[in-house]
Symmetry: C2
Subunit: 404 residues, 2 copies
């Protein structure tokens, strides 16, 4: 019984793809596969902006890991990873230690506040099911409280979104849909509500096609969202945020601040002694940590350079899933000691950024799309992720079919 032990950390897009591909490619007697995850469920990170705004129930954005795992081949452990001992090939969990022969590190991203004072304490971040649910309930509570206040607190219904990147814009789109519902639910006048997006960069959605950026900003502006572009958040406080620099600062009072401007790789990466930039390891062509043939790093904690522009690919679900496929293939080769390791090459099909339920912008197969076409594409992208991991039955169970 000398089966090699494969331990996969994280049941996100990358980890779960690795596990589901491995359970197809390897026989029961070829390896002992263990999948470790903090929760007993997988959640759709790319749908959290909807759960946070309250436009999609969080249960629609998650499913039990066991629904896609073949338990005869993959052992699932619900546990919280606290560290990795590369020398001794051991993973430490709150619940105990696990020995590995091959490790797949797929623990995903953490919120990055770039050292901005007060953000950790006073801002929410769209990070996981728990935090999304809390944002939703926090906003609801502000509306409920506003309705009971004798003296209305003016900034009670002001929501600041920090960052006009992908997550920020998608969250704003959902808020634009949600606010009228909230006004109705809590008997609040729409004019009492303000949603302000603050972005330090000189444009929203940096890196996106300017025509599409205009489309998005105009769309959201017409639905009441205010933009402060080229404006840096200096500090978050108990009562809101402070923007600007040097003497030229301004306070924006807001009962709700959501930070949607940055992610970094897992802090366990640095703690384990991997060389990394903000928790991201520049992996080799086979997706392994440099000089560490037994450790694969995929998803948001890995860094792959796009040679065409000599810059890293942004961390996306699409890339994480493709990495999971390559990782599973390479593990199969290593376990069997035969065949050739595959180089990872991202196959980018496009990017679609939603702007609420029935609008979106994107570039798909090199073509710009907007409006209901883009919105349809977005839902197909979401359904595709379900299909890749859980097949047609998961699409039927959790898919998005609210198509105009």
């Amino acid at each position: 019984m000398n089966k090699p032990k494969i331990v996969i950390l994280g049941a996100g897009y990358g980890g779960l793809m690795t596990a589901t591909r491995l359970q197809k490619s390897l026989g029961v007697n070829e390896a002992e596969i263990t999948l470790i995850n903090k929760n007993d469920y997988h959640y759709e990170t790319t749908w959290l902006h909807e759960a946070s705004a309250g436009t999609l129930h969080h249960d629609r954005a998650r499913y039990k890991v066991e629904t896609v795992i073949d338990r005869s081949k993959v052992k699932f452990v619900k546990g919280t990873v606290t560290g990795i001992d590369k020398e001794n090939k051991v993973v430490n969990l709150v619940e105990g230690d696990y020995q590995y022969d091959f490790l797949v590190f797929a623990l995903g991203a953490e919120s990055e506040t770039f050292g901005i004072k007060g953000l950790k304490e006073h801002a929410f971040s769209i990070s996981n099911i728990n935090s999304a649910r809390q944002i939703r309930e926090h906003i609801d509570y502000q509306f409920a409280t506003y309705a009971t206040e004798e003296e209305k607190r003016e900034d009670r219904l002001t929501i600041v979104v920090g960052g006009a990147g992908f997550t920020g814009i998608e969250f704003l789109g959902e808020l634009a849909n949600r606010i009228p519902e909230l006004c109705k639910e809590y008997d609040v006048d729409h004019n009492s509500v303000r949603v302000i997006c603050v972005e330090a960069a000189p444009t929203a959605l940096p890196g996106f096609d300017p025509e599409l950026v205009d489309y998005a900003v105009n769309h959201l502006t017409s639905r009441g969202i205010e933009f402060k572009i080229g404006t840096a958040i200096k500090e978050a406080t108990e009562t809101g945020i402070i923007v600007g620099k040097d003497e030229d600062i301004e306070e924006i009072k807001a009962a709700t601040v959501v930070w949607a401007a940055g992610v970094r790789g897992s802090s366990l990466i640095e703690a384990a002694g991997f060389e990394a930039m903000r928790g991201r390891v520049k992996v080799d062509s086979n997706l392994r940590a440099p000089g560490q043939d037994d450790v694969f790093i995929i998803g948001d904690s890995s860094l792959v350079i796009n040679e065409e522009v000599n810059r890293p690919y942004p961390p996306t679900a699409q890339i994480a899933m493709q990495q999971g496929e390559t990782c599973a293939k390479n593990l199969t080769v290593l376990v069997r000691g035969q065949g050739e390791l595959e180089d990872f090459t991202p196959d980018l099909k496009g990017t679609v950024c939603s702007l609420g339920e029935h609008d979106a912008i994107g570039v798909v197969f090199g073509k710009k799309v907007t409006g209901s076409t883009a919105s349809f594409m977005k839902k197909m992208v979401d359904n595709r992720a379900l299909f890749m991991i859980g097949g047609p039955s998961l699409v039927l169970k959790k898919g998005k079919f609210n198509i105009l």
Copy 2:
């Protein structure tokens, strides 16, 4: 055009009953009837414990005043009453003044904190749609926050209910139903939740049949509610409540404190110079303020003595509605200047206290009832109030038919 002006303040049980009866008994040319209410809707005060616990949506517990008003006969004014000038027969509103020949004061109850320190600032009260909605959202938010906390705040999910009277017990019954749902919604272990009822009197439900009180307390205890009977709240603080007296005090930490132990009549009663006890005026047999033939006072700001026990009847929806009927009859007599004024005699059909969705206790037509029979009765009582004011169509629209 010298039609007498009848002004009705409040569209609660008493005021709305008066208005709907008057629009039947008086012709268009006999009187000018104005109904003034803070909101454009009536709400079921006796259902607010459900809206507060989140077991019934608040929209189910309210309906637009105009749905039951005949606008050819009753003018509805959405306005907030600030005072009454008896001498000049004028009602002052934030929005302007209204002259009356006959006034019906039916503004309902206010929360009474008996001077307990901190209650106003730190405790919620089940008073109206707004406050009920806020309690619901506050509790939801505590659950959502608990799920995100790294270090769980132990008293985050502790709910203190002040008072084991009618409202307190009914609210506890709904909480017992709601807590399992909340645990599911927020992935929280039921054992992390505590619901504690604190009552100063030596028994729960003072005045109720002891056998029924035992039934209620046992039922709620078996569903996880803790009781501290004979325990007075000394103070409410930012972190919970302090109970006991003199040196023998104890702090109960709780993120949620709901005060359900007392109501008083409207504070406008005293401000207007009526002789009153805690905002309640001992009205004459025709329901008028003593020595004030043009002012009827009904509902929670009126006080009617039960001669049998020489104590005031408790303020209930049942009595308020019956007063509304008598008030409308007497106004008709006064407007026409013919007929005889009617004496008000309460016709108590019984009292049912719900213990959640499918259980209750009560005395109906002199008979003790418990369990599903009592629960059924309770729903019929609720439906009857709808029927009395809005007829069968309102029962169909807002009635309770969730019968086991």
